[in-house]
């Protein structure tokens, strides 16, 4: 039963990905990307990764769609088609990379295999120690905030730095006020000289 759900969700993901590539209307592409994120979130839920699904639904389907639409309102909503001719070299590179990646998956452990190396590196240690040392029922929170506190600290500073970067580029509150004050002063100066 669960295999059928997986198959249906993955098929939808593939269909939507192809549709996004084929579309030239960016507005429709943004909407389809939102649906893509929502489907990924459902897939994560089916795979019992609820915290990841939560993030994907909130960020991928929610906020990033809105930010994309806000960006689209500043530009044209049709993709310019500069590369109308087929590019054989590009196609070859993509096919070779894809084939190499698929070839590499043959060596990977089966999905959900309890003997997979990823489940025996540090995970056992975290599962053993969470109850006694952290005492938080949600293991994901214990790993993110306590065992891996440095990583989450890094992620928070990345978000902070990204915001500072956007503020520098698009003009945060302070630059805006300073710019408006300068405009006002300039216009006053002109009035006096006249």
């Amino acid at each position: 039963m669960i295999d059928i759900v997986h198959a249906v969700l993955f098929t939808f993901l593939a269909v939507i990905a192809i549709a996004i590539i084929r579309l030239r209307d960016l507005f429709a592409a943004v909407m389809l990307m939102g649906i893509f994120s929502l489907l990924s979130a459902s897939l994560f839920t089916v795979m019992d990764a609820v915290d990841v699904a939560f993030t994907e639904a909130a960020v991928g389907a929610g906020v990033s769609t809105i930010l994309m639409l806000a960006t689209l309102s500043l530009t044209r909503s049709r993709e310019s088609t500069r590369f109308a001719r087929p590019q054989p070299m590009a196609l070859l590179a993509v096919v070779l990379t894809g084939a190499a990646l698929i070839f590499a998956t043959f060596d990977m452990p089966r999905y959900g295999d309890p003997a997979a190396p990823i489940h025996h590196h540090v995970a056992d240690d975290y599962i053993d120690r969470t109850d006694d040392e952290v005492g938080v029922p949600n293991l994901v929170t214990a790993v993110l905030a306590s065992f891996r506190g440095y990583d989450t600290w890094g992620e928070t500073t990345v978000i902070f730095t990204a915001c500072v970067g956007v503020m520098m580029l698009l003009g945060g509150a302070r630059t805006f006020y300073r710019w408006r004050r300068r405009e006002d002063e300039d216009s006053e100066g002109e009035g006096k000289s006249l």
Binding site: D51, L67, G135, P137, A142, S146, T152, T156, V166
Partner: protein, 141 residues
């Protein structure tokens, strides 16, 4: 200002609930799915919904960009402050065990504060980004 009455009334009903849900996700993250990042995004989404429905200028009066800028830094400072506090109390950076008399209580307190810092930063970053993008190319905001 958008004139769609149904959307505006519905969003008036929804925005407080979305904010309350964000707080639930924030402080219930120790017990259920969720945590600071998800809660921050949901709270940011509530602010964005307000801006979409009632206009950018009204949203900027409720959540002034300068205050949001302050909160962007405050969350990171709170996270780093917990780490520095642990050093001052004789532990390593972000070692929550020393924060309270009992190591497990210290862990609880540390995780709560750290997640709160993440939530504050993420919520204000999301709202700031939307304000910056949406306010671009307009002279009236």
């Amino acid at each position: 200002m958008i004139r769609h009455v149904i959307l505006r009334v519905l969003s008036k009903l929804l925005i407080p609930l979305i904010m309350l849900f964000a707080l639930y996700v924030q402080f219930h993250g120790d017990y259920g799915p969720g945590g600071g990042f998800q809660a921050g995004v949901i709270f940011g989404a509530a602010i964005i919904l307000y801006a979409l429905m009632f206009g950018l200028e009204a949203a900027k009066r409720v959540f002034p960009p300068r205050v949001l800028e302050f909160f962007v830094a405050l969350g990171v400072l709170l996270y780093g402050g917990v780490g520095i506090d642990a050093i001052l109390l004789g532990g390593n950076f972000l070692e929550y065990d020393v924060l309270a008399h009992d190591p497990v209580h210290g862990q609880h307190l540390g995780i709560l504060l750290v997640e709160l810092g993440v939530g504050i930063t993420v919520a204000s970053v999301m709202a700031s980004l939307f304000f910056l993008f949406a306010g671009r190319g307009r002279s009236d905001v």
